[in-house]
């Protein structure tokens, strides 16, 4: 079956900068895809191209089985059936809450009675029905957020694009809204692309995760797969931070003096980078074949554990440890072979 939203070979240059290079992306119907990347990675540009707010220099874009951009095709924005929730919400400050939601429906020629019903239903679905006659400046940040979402959903878009919608909300509210957006989009059965630079948000919100850097899509797949089996040092470090050791393959082990570390991960080549996560550090006796040692140079309390910085004779590592360890102490630890992922060193620079 053809993907519901598909981009092929999309490229875009803004001024001097090549923002997107030959990018392929697909989203299935009803799927929520998170696109994660640092600022400047081209993720916002990508969804602006899908929405039609800007035109690609090359490539083609299909939405709901119809070509919306390609050679000799450029469907106008309003005919693409794309919803968009802006980072700053972009709720019109001079219209009431109901006016905001009804604006597009009115332009589409919908009659008064039907429109009122749709507006009411959309506002009820985001639980701000009683605020219909308020103006945006009388709403809290979270309420404006919901209004922006309701305004898009009321148009029954084929796909809804969310551009970092939680970046302007304070931390306490963010967790709550995150769950709410997820439930709402799922309840409407809408296909969604969710842009963010926050890895915990990206992983929490999606069926599938895609990581972008420098205008390229590095890897996509279920979040747990990307977390466990990153394909580049960048994906590994961007998804929750990782320790990395460079070495060469010898059988099923990576030789990185002074260490020799075993892994179950298939090797991508002779020269590799072995990555493991701080929380995978175990006592030395757990996996004696992967034993490492060093002295503690810093110890910070994180709440659920202590974050140790350990200096080996090679690189320094971050370890999550169940108890406090005094600085200068010598500590040995180990990592399970199936928690040691292998990536090609500096793929993003050699490509």
């Amino acid at each position: 079956m053809k993907p519901w939203v598909e981009c092929r070979g999309v490229a875009k240059r803004l001024g001097e900068k090549q923002v997107l290079r030959d990018l392929d992306l697909s989203v299935e119907k009803g799927e929520i895809l998170s696109i994660l990347g640092p600022s400047g990675s081209g993720k916002t540009t990508l969804i602006r191209l899908i929405a039609g707010l800007a035109d690609p220099d090359a490539g083609q874009i299909d939405v709901a089985g119809r070509r919306v951009f390609g050679p000799r095709v450029n469907t106008p924005i309003e005919k693409r059936g794309v919803g968009y929730v802006f980072q700053d919400y972009a709720v019109w400050p001079h219209m009431t809450v109901a006016g905001n939601v009804g604006f597009g429906l009115g332009l589409a020629g919908m009659g008064r009675a039907e429109r009122d019903l749709r507006v009411r239903a959309a506002l009820e679905s985001v639980a701000i029905g009683e605020l219909a006659e308020r103006f945006p400046d009388q709403l809290s940040g979270g309420q404006q957020q919901r209004l922006a979402l309701a305004r898009s959903l009321a148009m029954r878009p084929k796909v809804i694009l969310l551009d970092e919608p939680l970046s302007n909300v304070d931390a306490a509210l963010r967790e709550h809204l995150r769950l709410e957006i997820l439930q709402l989009v799922r309840a409407h059965g809408t296909t969604a692309i969710y842009i963010t630079h926050d890895q915990s948000e990206a992983m929490a919100l999606c069926d599938r995760l895609a990581v972008m850097q420098g205008g390229r899509l590095l890897q996509s797949g279920p979040p747990e797969e990307l977390y466990r089996r990153p394909n580049t040092p960048f994906v590994a470090s961007f998804l929750g931070g990782a320790n990395a050791v460079r070495g060469t393959m010898e059988g099923d082990a990576v030789v990185a003096p002074p260490f020799r570390l075993h892994t179950t991960c298939p090797a991508p080549g002779a020269n590799v980078e072995l990555v493991f996560r701080p929380e995978d550090a175990l006592p030395a006796e757990a996996h004696p074949q992967n034993r490492m040692e060093g002295h503690i140079i810093a110890c910070m309390f994180l709440g659920r554990c202590w974050r140790l910085t350990l200096q080996t004779h090679g690189p320094a590592f971050q370890l999550d440890w169940p108890h406090r360890v005094a600085e200068s102490t010598i500590l040995a630890f180990s990592v399970a072979p199936d928690r040691c992922a292998l990536v090609t060193p500096d793929l993003e620079q050699s490509a």
């Binding site: 929405a51 924005i77 802006f86 972009a90 709720v91 019109w92 400050p93 009431t96 006016g99 604006f103």
Partner: protein
């Protein structure tokens, strides 16, 4: 880019005809004496040199520079002190004193100048009250009086510029100096003054340029005192028979050269790095407790307010209500005659006022619509065009009205093709001149407001199916409505009292109010002149205030309650 080509061409053509062509003719005329009279393109510097060496011209050039320097210096000093008083002291009545700079800024210079003539002339009000000796009265009509009135008229500019720099400076730098042992005075001398110096210099330059371009005082106090100034010299060269365009052109070129030098200094100064220190967030500075000195400071600031606004306005009111100036404040000298005359339809004063109000309303509407459309398209378009238009607009603001007026005469009275339109001497040309003088201000205000709108608000409307016209009408205009109305009202007020364009482009069928006011005072008809001035102020203020109130009411209605009705328009077109 190509899509924007027709728009770019239209903008270029508009600004070309309204600003660049007249300016080019003025400058061309200076070096090609036969340009407009004989279509002779020979470049001859003889006339320009003659202008620069002719004693009369030379005097007016010197006078302009000397007066500009002294008046700008005095206004800077007064503005600095006033700004310190407003921002850093606990002087009582600061709310009232804060209004003074705005009131001064909004009343035209020549009206205050004429009022001061009533006050200072021999046998004038101040002599009647025994407050002024004959010597002081004589001294007023000359450099002293001009400096005095310019200072009182311009110091608000320094208050705005220096005051905002002071607020931006905050108190940290000064407090830091105090913590390392500087005394209060030392902190001012070593820290605050050097940091404020760029703002002080910018204020000085801006006011120098204002004095050099001024036509209001030049054609009133300076003319009466026979104190020749460049702007008035340009005007007389075009008015006195025989008309001497080459002389006017070369004097205008000298004036433009002086202003360009000021502009260049201003740019250089703005590029200095020290200026950037004075922006960004800062904590408000400590307010000095003046203790028992506070009433003295209050009295002095009050005196400045009285001299710069209330006394001149009072003189005009008094003169309006008196039969003659000489008889003074006695019961039998009181009269309604002048007001009645000014209110009688068909009388010259009344005709002039209605003309001016009509022209100003038309100018305000045209400028508002043009500024809106232009700003809207510029905001969508490329940066290059936007910056080019802004540069031309800012340049046009810096060109003195009398030079633009001269350019319009050269264009519409002499240039083949333009002459054939027959517009010269007709009111539409005066309105065109008004529009060209006002449009840059309106554009700057509206463009500023439009660029404040988050682009996502328009993007969101596009995604909901709104076309360009719908977005302009239902997103952009409602969001900038108050700035748009401010721009229109500013243009209206400014145009009712605009003097130089009115003077140079007055329609043969009848002159607008500013020309008639200045002429009446010149012909010793100052009673009816005062009545006309007073009526113009009241009418303009009344109309502007009423429009503002109505607009605000309507805005509230649509903004707060009527959105459902707006949303109810089928198709929204």
């Amino acid at each position: 880019m190509i899509r924007n080509l027709p728009f770019t061409l239209a903008v270029a053509l508009g600004f070309g005809v309204l600003v660049l062509l007249p300016l080019a003719l003025v400058m061309g005329q200076a070096v090609m004496p036969g340009l407009v009279d004989h279509a002779d393109f020979t470049i001859r510097f003889a006339k320009l040199l003659a202008t620069l060496t002719d004693p009369r011209s030379l005097t007016s050039i010197l006078h302009t520079i000397v007066l500009g320097t002294i008046a700008a210096g005095c206004a800077t000093a007064l503005g600095f002190v006033y700004a310190v008083m407003l921002t850093r002291t606990d002087t009582p009545g600061r709310r009232l004193l804060q209004a003074t700079p705005w009131l001064v800024f909004l009343t035209p210079a020549y009206l205050k100048a004429l009022a001061w003539v009533l006050l200072m002339s021999p046998g004038g009000y101040l002599q009647q009250f025994g407050l002024l000796s004959d010597d002081a009265s004589d001294a007023f009509f000359g450099l002293g009086g001009l400096v005095f009135v310019h200072t009182l008229n311009l110091f608000p500019l320094a208050v705005f510029v220096i005051g905002s720099a002071m607020r931006g400076l905050g108190g940290e730098f000064e407090d830091a100096a105090r913590t390392v042992g500087a005394a209060s005075f030392g902190a001012w001398w070593r820290i605050n003054l050097p940091l404020l110096a760029p703002a002080v210099a910018l204020a000085f330059l801006a006011m120098f340029a204002e004095v050099a371009s001024d036509f209001g005082l030049a054609s009133t106090i300076a003319r009466t005192s026979d104190f020749g100034l460049l702007t008035y010299a340009i005007y007389t060269a075009t008015e006195n028979y025989p008309v001497d365009f080459p002389l006017a052109g070369s004097q205008a070129l000298v004036l433009l050269a002086i202003l360009s030098a000021v502009l260049l200094l201003d740019r250089t100064l703005r590029r200095q790095r020290s200026l950037r220190l004075i922006t960004g967030r800062s904590r408000p500075a400590r307010v000095y407790r003046l203790r028992r000195w506070r009433w003295l400071v209050c009295a002095l600031a009050g005196l400045v307010s009285v001299l710069s606004v209330y006394l001149p306005l009072g003189a005009i009111v008094l003169r309006t209500a008196s039969r003659t100036l000489g008889q003074g404040l006695v019961a039998q000298n009181l009269t309604w005659r002048w007001i009645e005359q000014a209110l009688t339809a068909g009388q010259e004063a009344n005709l002039a006022l209605s003309r001016s109000l009509g022209f100003a309303a038309l100018t305000a509407l045209i400028s508002g619509v043009l500024a809106l459309l232009l700003a809207w398209r510029l905001d969508l378009g490329g940066k290059i065009l936007r910056n080019a238009v802004l540069a031309v607009a800012m340049g046009a603001i810096a060109i003195p009205g009398v030079v633009m007026g001269l350019g319009y005469i050269l264009t519409w009275d002499r240039l083949p093709g333009f002459v054939d339109t027959g517009l010269y001497g007709k009111w539409p040309l005066l309105v065109l001149g008004y529009v060209s003088a006002a449009l840059p201000y309106a554009l700057v205000i509206v463009l500023g407001a439009i660029s404040q709108i988050a682009p996502s608000l328009n993007d969101a409307a596009r995604l909901h199916g709104a076309g360009p016209a719908t977005r302009l009408a239902r997103i952009t205009v409602p969001l900038i409505a108050s700035s748009l109305i401010t721009a229109v009202l500013f243009v209206f007020v400014r145009t009712v009292f605009e003097l130089p364009m009115s003077q140079l482009l007055q329609p043969t069928a009848g002159a607008p109010a500013p020309v008639v006011i200045v002429r009446m005072f010149g012909n010793d008809d100052d009673g009816i002149g005062s009545a006309l001035s007073l009526l113009a102020i009241v009418a303009t203020g009344g109309i502007a205030g009423a429009v503002w109130l109505v607009a605000r009411g309507l805005g509230r209605h649509f903004w707060r309650n009527g959105v459902e009705t707006m949303g109810g328009m089928p198709g929204g077109r």
